[in-house]
Symmetry: D2
Subunit: 286 residues, 4 copies
Amino acid sequence: MSNKATAILLISCPDQKGLVAAIADFLYQHNANILHADQHQDAELGLFLMRVEWDLSGFDIDTSDFNNAFSPIATRFQMQWRLATSAHRPRLAIFVSRYDHCLADLLYRYQAGELNCEIPIIISNHTDTQWLAEAYRIPFQHIVINKDNKAEAEAEQLAILRKNHVDFVVLARYMQVLSPDFIRHYPNRIINIHHSFLPAFHGAKPYHRAFERGVKLIGATSHYVTEILDDGPIIEQDVARISHRDDLEDLIRRGADLEKIVLSRAVRWHIENRVLLYANKTVVFD
Amino acid sequence: MSNKATAILLISCPDQKGLVAAIADFLYQHNANILHADQHQDAELGLFLMRVEWDLSGFDIDTSDFNNAFSPIATRFQMQWRLATSAHRPRLAIFVSRYDHCLADLLYRYQAGELNCEIPIIISNHTDTQWLAEAYRIPFQHIVINKDNKAEAEAEQLAILRKNHVDFVVLARYMQVLSPDFIRHYPNRIINIHHSFLPAFHGAKPYHRAFERGVKLIGATSHYVTEILDDGPIIEQDVARISHRDDLEDLIRRGADLEKIVLSRAVRWHIENRVLLYANKTVVFD
Amino acid sequence: MSNKATAILLISCPDQKGLVAAIADFLYQHNANILHADQHQDAELGLFLMRVEWDLSGFDIDTSDFNNAFSPIATRFQMQWRLATSAHRPRLAIFVSRYDHCLADLLYRYQAGELNCEIPIIISNHTDTQWLAEAYRIPFQHIVINKDNKAEAEAEQLAILRKNHVDFVVLARYMQVLSPDFIRHYPNRIINIHHSFLPAFHGAKPYHRAFERGVKLIGATSHYVTEILDDGPIIEQDVARISHRDDLEDLIRRGADLEKIVLSRAVRWHIENRVLLYANKTVVFD
Amino acid sequence: MSNKATAILLISCPDQKGLVAAIADFLYQHNANILHADQHQDAELGLFLMRVEWDLSGFDIDTSDFNNAFSPIATRFQMQWRLATSAHRPRLAIFVSRYDHCLADLLYRYQAGELNCEIPIIISNHTDTQWLAEAYRIPFQHIVINKDNKAEAEAEQLAILRKNHVDFVVLARYMQVLSPDFIRHYPNRIINIHHSFLPAFHGAKPYHRAFERGVKLIGATSHYVTEILDDGPIIEQDVARISHRDDLEDLIRRGADLEKIVLSRAVRWHIENRVLLYANKTVVFD
């Protein structure tokens, strides 16, 4: 949350001896002042994952030269890696249908400076949330979707995303299923909020089914969207206790608070480059 | 938790006007000093559920005459009802396999006076937990179960339950599936602990599947056993947060703490006549 | 959350036999269709507290005649009682300083229909939040407060409250201490949010002190304001887990989410007449 | 939780560039296979804290020579450091008075293999828990304490601790205040469980005071014992929701479950060398 210009290096590679020494030595040789470093080893998969963040003041490699300087180490250890800088604010498009609680929550956090991103566009298949977009002065695009025009509608959405140089998409209670083709344009860069504790109650009407089943806690799950519905890597989940005194409307109202919290955490972690993917799971470096 | 002799009346009937007035007036006419009363209306099903507990000192109906005295009201309102008294300690049989954490927890709570019941017998298909039974001085019966003798083994179990006048059964990580025939002997009187947040990960190896799915919370669920596996009315659930730093062994260890808490709550609530069933759900009057 | 016209009766009196029978019979005689009823007995204090809500359609007493009809019972049992109807939307004034997260949250919930009240006025000693008032179209009054004009400022605030027929006040991170005189105008009708788990860290800068003390959970508390700072009856509290990875800014950011949830619950419960006071505590009928 | 022989290095020193590189290079040069590494920087205090665990198979320095080999780095960076090996099971003495729930919980976890320690002795000022010591076959020493013999009693306790080569002490609801002199023998090696959410309700009778104050959550706190009562570095805390339906006995019963969980976590983390102290706080590396 600091105002310093920082760089973040995310690494994923086969685990082996000397890895940390090589990375730490590289950063030291180039005068990096490390602010945070976190790593994870998955013993079973023999995988090494790391997130390291350093102060750019004093660091003697220009961001544009980093690739050249780092590639010998990256090659040696067969790394998948990515460099991000706090100066680059990723560009987020929000998709929404009629429920506006997640949208309102994200917009409030955005204007409060909690989300270090740009929001160039809100896209909706309804006009119910246009007032919110206007209150927060975000461009709003209404694109009708029905069973006959889905392909064209998605083409139009994709064109808008391209035009706005969108880096990732958040489905803030967007009630349409995206086509596999759409998803392939933003692999692991579409975040959804599902209103249940996945894998329980995947699919439609989770609150109704939770109410019917008589569960004692309700949940919400944010995850990356993959081609299989509600099956992508989970970023965050949370639950709230309910009782027999809560009717279906209470579940929906109380779930809305969960959804807001769980989605906003996932979005923030994604923006702060805290999420690493492996084996259809996430590591969230905190 | 008091030492007073009390009576508890549990009622379930179609909701209609005058119900509470009739019950409250009946208790007042017979000089009952009400200690706790709780009721629930399910608007959708038109159902009324009530639990009322009163001090027996001063109450002018003998327990054995209660049926006669109350039946006019019960008939008028088509009640299903049940009277319990704190003087009657229900008799509990614990079934267990090899994992002993739930058994150890229940036995500790039992001897500490937290569970107002008798435990005349522990039945296991292994001998691993016999030392615990001995430490707490509870009779222990080892009944081997294999794929060839299941029917006889269950017959033997049922004979032991009958001989011990068992009121209800707790499956404290009992790793055998009970037959429908067995279950029919104790309808809504067998409590199981399942090591997941049902309906997620019903069936075998829930921690393995939770680990593989990459969930961010693990759970445990206590429920009444019905003929459909892991589908009976849920009494209690709880969850614990995990992270990528937790491996499968950590999940199992941390889940064990959840299982103990969730099962012991269900058992206590059942003993204290706090659980009412309807529509494959429970109302837990607290 | 239903649209039915309902009445809510809140009762507090010495516990004695026949109470519930008398109330239930009264409601039955006048053809009330009870929707929810909840009661609580404090054995130590010999106190009986009740909340009962019924459908007004069919009820044969006009609200204006209720007092006459009910007073014989109220007198007989020495009741303190209050009747509320869902038709009356209480009028809420929000006081706020610079932090706007609680205000934004309340306004969103208000416009979403989650809070069954009117908000005729927002009063602030700063102008930072005026844009929010405008976005949600609520009148906003800026009243400067400094160490020299406190008495006049409060007089001005009170005049505005009177003019707007305000029923209760919410301090949504209002950073001024109200005078005892001000508080006496709205006894148990001013709700504050304190950013700690009271009674820990009462007074100033609770997040700083929580950070310094090294607690593992942070909290928030909503309570009625009394003349002793941060000492009034607690309506709701909640906590969030933190770790050494969270710095002071993280505590403040994460605490803000707690504050929003905890304050909005308290406000909703107050509006829905769920809160009963006794012995500097609250009963919250859910 | 693995059976491998591992070493754990805990480091605390002023933060400076090159630290991680130097440590990682040292371990790499000596062929350490790092299993877990976690570090923390406190920006405000300019402090660096690290825990690194590696597999001893293949590591080419004998534990007894580690000091010599590592001291050049330690000196260069002004480190406070400590090496622990999984082969050394620390020796724990449990102090207990009458309440036995924490003792029973620790003993169960100990025999289940959850706590990688030895428990050579249980010391109590009462005999109530002797049966538990016997059931788990741990030596039990009864030492009466009254207002006249406190100094001698503590001398006797210390002698027993010395004779049993005790590494650390757990106060499992031990209702005596230890003298500063006693505490100085085991600095940051005495763990207490306090039955409140510290700093709320420090001192005597926290449940009574929580009940009186009308809090909506109760808590428990495990901490290292320092000379100021209930003021030492907090290791772990947790809370449970209560309501007006819970009387004082319910708080005590429900709090007992919290105390068990919170204390057992602290004891395990201490045994696994996960706790680092600074500025009267703890870092718990998970």
